[in-house]
Symmetry: C3
Subunit: 307 residues, 3 copies
């Protein structure tokens, strides 16, 4: 690990050196994805879930111009209350460091940092994707291209359902990214268990996913893997209700001219308001569920590597 | 070669070790591209054409969860009659192995396997491309991105003419893939000798193509090369007839809602029916023609490498 | 450096060996971007500006099938008057060499050659981008993908304003390319200082940009960096005037069916005629301004590397 570039905690450094299981975690979900204090509670619970499986959580962020791999609890608290933290994709990291900024790391930035640090698995809520209307705007998240270029496995509940899911699946196919649904034939839709689209592959155990990870890496395409883990049944929202809410929020963003980097945070906040907090509860449940699966995959993968 | 990942025949293993000329061959053309027994006859003739030039054919496939590089004749026969073989792109390989499946390898999977095995040239009928209507569906074959990321030379008769050829050429340009027409100023259209689009470059001998391959590799862009070899004059179909037939089949697919992985096999089968088998005859002729050119390029390239 | 592939001047070879600052320069601006003798004067002045900062200019071109890195003055003169020079992107280089051609190198080819030669910074006028109407034509410059794949820093005055700038910025974001405006909050529009789009990052000194370059390289995404340097105030054109002129030239190209490789040279020539030479004067001013900034970044970066 490049010691002048990456600043891991002692715990993370030791885990990497020992070949112990680790799960990377992003931080835009803390800085831009959820309101305080729900974001702080979520961040702590996610780490606890990962530790419960014997894996080490590594929440990544840029803190005052330094890339942190793993955060102390008080640092998570500071980040959860920060008003000036920006949102950094992998392409924003260098400038953010030069400017001495603090930033939540997106999926693309976290994948890149994880790859540099030697962490193979990363858990998030939903990855970015092809925005609705992208045939006219060309607004397509760098997360998808990072998945096409960086060999990190990302566990999510599908792409955020504010996006165009069929186009996102086509783009992932064009980018040669394996999409594996966990325990399901369908590709999930974040707040609900099915998007109506079939997943390309279904695997039913963390061990199988770990084996696919090893094989995919040996195949040398250089792409990551997207593991789509449906939201738990009990936490899933009613499809008609949430689709209507999303459509309302998207229409509002269009009317108010909100786009690019501001779009996703605006939509998530507005959907939360319109759903009286139901979307936030679902979001927390699915993130915990993804952390749980990612930890079990990390344990299985660490075992495979030792063999 | 990674011996636990790739399973070559003894002949292929020896040829690679000796620096002898090899030509990789895909197998979705066997499992999904042609009906039995035409597929079997074609697969055998293609291998014979390659051997006639002193090169070694390496038909790739996934057989019961193992990546095979080169197949025994009885294995080709089994694959040609298989009802349960899936279609595997490079991103599907790992999951197919974990699931113990048998699969025909697409252009993208075959390029990746060839690159891993150290085989520089690969012959096929037509590569995938940008589908008609992709401005709305985003349906763009992973073959094009694999050409943008994997340094294998692919000899084809153009992209399948069921696709949008001008958009495919633009996409290949954006991906930085050299497109070289062999002995022609025009980019061919699979069943016919010209698509109406100019090719970016024309080279007239296998030796020139072999030199371009070596130079392109040294330039380090990491992309493959697309060699477009027009169907032999005598086997070419009448442009007006085949265009009408393709349009009819495409319209039928739209009405019946056939898309994604099912689309190309459906169209090829339907065009064959509508043309009373003429399209299948043309397809076989152009594949043999491509194998012939690929073998001659492989021989010239092996000679260059020895110098 | 691969001595059979790249043919540097003695001066360039020595500068690379010494770790001295170098700035690569493209040559389609000479062969296809400006009329003679304005192109020759511009090429000479650009080299002088770079030398004035103690850096070494390396104008790249393909001369009779050899990739030249640095050109003697009489070679620049020959290129400036050549009628038969083609336009070579990175994917055209190998075929151009085999064919023994002379070619102006585009941004993508020059980035690739610079990367191979070990030159970190490259100055140009404007990079290629997403063409207007690309949602229907898929006409997107390989320059953008080269920026997504090759770790060269490109100093420009924005993308050529004949393009769709918002779509180009989205595409660069999807490709994970850092876009840094120098001394400005806005992304410039070639002939004018603002495109109306915000830049993602603003840095105000060559030293900061050099630090961002080093960090970005260490982050390992493999992408280049686009440094957007607004045209000097005194040389900038009136936005309403130039926008009208561009619209007129674009409409004319559409009517006359001019597209693909011919489009950009046609538009630049036509805009120059329609503006009575004002666009050419602005183009020369911004190129010199970019060479000046690139040289200062090169000096700062060479110093950083020595530390
Ligand atoms: Mn976006
Ligand atoms: Mn497709
Ligand atoms: Mn173009």
């Amino acid at each position: 690990m490049n010691a002048s570039l990456l600043h891991p905690t002692e715990e993370v450094k030791a885990a990497i050196a020992d070949g112990a299981p680790l799960v990377a975690l992003e931080s835009t979900i803390i800085t831009h994805g959820m309101p305080y204090p729900a974001n702080l509670e979520m961040a702590r619970k996610v780490e606890a879930v990962i530790r419960a499986h014997g894996a080490v959580p590594a929440t990544t962020a840029v803190v005052e111009g330094r890339i942190r791999v793993g955060l102390a609890d008080r640092e998570i608290e500071t980040l959860a209350q920060a008003k000036d933290a920006v949102k950094a994709s992998s392409r924003d990291l260098a400038a953010s460091i030069v400017q001495g900024r603090s930033a939540g790391t997106t999926v693309s930035a976290t994948m890149r940092i994880a790859a540099l640090a030697g962490i193979d698995i990363f858990a998030t809520g939903g990855v970015g994707g092809v925005h609705r209307g992208a045939e006219a705007t060309f607004d397509i998240s760098a997360d998808l291209t990072e998945l096409g270029q960086t060999a990190t496995t990302v566990v999510c509940a599908g792409v955020k359902s504010i996006l165009d899911i069929p186009k996102t699946l086509e783009f992932l196919e064009t980018q040669r990214v394996p999409v594996i649904a966990y325990g399901s034939d369908d590709f999930p839709a974040f707040y609900t268990r099915s998007s109506g689209c079939k997943a390309d592959h279904r695997l039913d155990t963390p061990e199988e996913i770990a084996r696919a990870m090893r094989l995919h890496r040996e195949l040398g395409s250089g792409t990551g893997i997207l593991v789509a883990n449906p939201i738990p049944e009990a936490a899933a929202l009613d499809p008609a209700f949430i689709d209507g809410t999303i459509a309302e929020a998207v229409a509002e963003a269009t009317v108010r001219g909100i786009g690019r980097k501001e779009l996703t945070p605006f939509l998530l906040a507005r959907i939360n308001e319109l759903s009286n907090g139901a979307s936030l509860q679902a979001n927390i449940a699915l993130v915990l569920n993804n952390a749980d699966l990612a930890a079990r995959i990390a344990v299985a993968f660490a075992r495979l590597k030792r063999e």
